[in-house]
């Protein structure tokens, strides 16, 4: 695709972002609402010199990714919530092996089969590691088709930079909707050379390369853990990303990601017309989470309350509450079951919060 500005679906834009980043391997399994990703990949990845495999399961897909990444390729898989649960085993192994890869989650409603409506119930899973053991995955949360492409592109960069899996935490709305995408900031790049550690057929005259996750002796494991902890600390310092909207003079700060953050912008515009001084803070990386900037807002005298809007039962709000540390009331405005927000859904509770910043209807109380 040579055009720089294209009208396309979120899931397809993600694939284009991957191609531009030099993605040469994709393995995946059909699940709604991300089916456009394997479909688009199966059609186009060959033109970019890559390989597509429709795997027998999500478990197999993530392990194929592990092999492809170990062999030196930029590799990606995508799925939606139930499929991502299956991938968690592999993500744990990939994180421990310190292999780079990109995993996209077009989140649908759970738990269980749930439904195929957009949801944000996988926030904990994405930001706390998700599989067994202690690890983190760099997690980017797009809120537009443009960002689907851009964040997949960026995820490849970050995954290679830190040799760690990077997640793109999207939702059904962003994956399915169509918008114009500008690719001018995403030039095609050659993936970095990994021959100093990858598994390849050119072993003559070099030490063999070994990728393993098993260290039976605690004395051997402890330094590995220490190295990983230090890596995660460095990622936290270097990679926090967020954006804000009308937050400079905001008295009530909305924190939202994904499709609710788009609704929040409409709510802020409408709210300001009726005199509500609203602003938005949108984390772009949800791990590492922008605790620092939220703490600054919480410490400002101007801000009266912080409102978190999520399409789940309350997940990111815990991170926000941790950042706020009791300095200001934190309110939680949810949507359940795969229903989506309207601006009014946000404005109504916000009006009550302005009347009473401690309004018990929405106040988030840690139990």
């Amino acid at each position: 695709m040579s055009a720089q500005r294209v009208f396309m679906k979120g899931n397809e834009a993600a694939c284009e972002g991957a191609f531009r980043a030099g993605c040469k391997f994709f393995a995946g399994y059909p699940i709604t609402p991300q089916n456009e990703v394997p479909e688009y990949m199966s059609k186009h990845i060959w033109d970019h010199g890559g390989t597509f495999i429709q795997s027998e399961s999500e478990v197999a897909a993530i392990n194929m990714l592990m092999g492809a990444s170990a062999a030196g390729a930029r590799a990606m898989t995508s799925s939606s919530s139930p499929g991502i649960s299956l991938k968690q085993e592999g993500i744990s192994y990939i994180a421990m092996s310190e292999l780079p890869c990109v995993v996209m989650n077009v989140v649908r409603c759970g738990p269980g089969l749930g439904n195929i409506a957009p949801h944000q119930g996988d926030y904990f899973q994405a930001t706390r590691g998700g599989g067994h053991g202690d690890y983190r995955t760099i997690t980017l949360a797009p809120n537009s088709v443009q960002e689907m492409a851009q964040f997949v592109y960026l995820a490849f960069e970050l995954a290679d930079k830190w040799r760690n899996p990077a997640l793109v935490l999207s939702d059904g709305t962003i994956g399915q909707m169509m918008e114009p995408v500008d690719f001018s900031e995403m030039p095609y790049v050659e993936p970095p050379d990994k021959s100093d550690w990858c598994l390849n057929a050119h072993q003559e005259g070099r030490e063999r390369h070994l990728i393993t996750t098993i260290y039976l002796l605690a004395e051997d494991m402890a330094p590995v853990h220490e190295r990983l902890v230090k890596k995660y600390e460095r990622i936290k310092k270097a990679e926090v990303r967020y954006t804000d909207y009308m937050s400079d003079d905001a008295e009530i700060l909305i924190v939202a990601i994904g499709s609710p953050s788009r609704v929040a912008r409409s709510a802020i515009k409408a709210g300001r017309e009726e005199g509500l001084k609203l602003g938005l803070l949108r984390p772009i990386t949800v791990w590492p989470f922008p605790y620092g900037v939220i703490r600054q807002y919480a410490e400002s005298d101007r801000v009266k309350a912080i409102v978190v809007t999520e399409m789940n039962w309350g997940q990111m709000v815990e991170d926000v509450a941790m950042a706020v540390s009791g300095k200001k009331p934190v309110h939680f405005v949810p949507k359940h079951g795969g229903l989506t927000f309207t601006p009014e859904d946000m404005l109504e509770p916000i009006r009550a919060i302005r009347e009473n910043p401690m309004n018990p209807e929405t106040l988030w109380v840690q139990t």
Binding site: K24, F25, A27, T51, I53, S55, E56, S57, V59, A60, A61, N63, M64, L65, M66, G67, A68, S69, A70, A71, G72, A73, A75, E89, G90, Y93, S97, L199, N200, A201, H202, Q203, E204, R208, H209, L210, I211, T212, T213, I214
Partner: protein, 286 residues
């Protein structure tokens, strides 16, 4: 433990001798950590010998599975990756597709290949992935202390079948070689044993054919090797290898279940008379 260095030639009382059996170059110098009498060591050596003979050591990438062979990468001297339980063939698929010049070896036990990794096994075989699998079948879970394996035979006592495996409760031992032989993507699949010198030599021949299938781009290849777990079978090593030869082979008959090379030969033989016919008809035309 440091190994005594190998001398290719020695002189004893004025007589020259040359080394005719030593450690293959594709093995590291680390002594095996398997139990006394365990055939993992035998099979490691055979695989390494074949790799040496084919001259592919520096192209090989190994997949270490989960089970007793989890540390197989400490003994094979080429690139290796340790995989999650059952997922070796999925990882192998990723490696081979990205680096088609590698020779990919997956080394798996019965729990890994025939229980938790059955789907990965069947589908990698069905895709005809150019991968060689060494499947070590010892009818038990050795690493975890002797629980029932998918290949545990009827009546065999394990820590989870204390009364012996009862097919009405838990089904029958699974025959992977026979199953995989049905798939068109499979180029070579054979079952061999390791219970005596003769069978060990036959195993080596099969392993070589399996690698040949990969090197000649023919498809998926696997050698299922009946092995012993004398410790968890509660037998002496000699009794255990005898049990492999006498009892296990009844349930898992050794043999070649799929062999594209033999099929080629048969085809050539079948084609041969028709060719002569064609030639003769040509002649008559002339």
């Amino acid at each position: 433990m440091e190994a005594v260095p190998e001398k290719k030639r020695v002189t004893v009382d004025g007589q020259d001798y040359e080394l005719v059996f030593g450690r293959p170059a594709s093995l590291t110098s680390k002594p095996f950590t398997y139990c006394p009498g365990c055939n993992h060591g035998t099979i490691h050596r055979l695989v390494a010998e074949v790799i040496d003979e084919l001259g592919i050591q520096h192209r090989c990438v190994g997949m270490a599975s989960v089970g007793c062979s989890v540390f197989s990468y400490e003994f094979f001297d080429f690139d290796f990756i340790s995989c999650a339980h059952g997922r070796a063939l999925a990882v192998a698929t990723g490696v081979k597709r990205v680096q088609p010049d590698t020779v990919v070896l997956s080394y798996q036990g019965d729990g890994d290949l025939a229980a938790i990794g059955t789907a990965e096994t069947i589908h990698a075989a069905n895709r005809g992935e150019r991968i060689t699998t060494i499947f070590v079948n010892n009818a038990i879970y050795g690493m975890t202390g002797g629980q029932m394996a998918p290949t545990t035979i009827i009546g065999q006592r394990t820590t989870t079948t204390p009364e012996g495996r009862d097919e009405h409760r838990i089904g029958w031992p699974i025959r992977m070689s026979e199953m995989l032989a049905l798939l068109p993507g499979v180029a070579f699949v054979a079952r061999t044993t390791c219970h005596d010198a003769k069978s060990i030599l036959k195993t080596k021949v099969a392993i070589k054919k399996a690698f040949r299938a990969q090197l000649e781009d023919r498809g998926f290849s696997m050698v299922e090797i009946l092995s012993n777990c004398n410790v968890n079978w509660r037998m002496t090593p000699q009794d255990a290898v005898n049990w492999v030869g006498e009892e296990m082979t009844k349930v898992f008959p050794p043999g070649t279940y799929k062999d594209v090379f033999a099929e080629d030969q048969e085809k050539a033989r079948a084609d041969a008379p028709s060719k002569t016919k064609a030639q003769s008809s040509e002649k008559t035309e002339v």
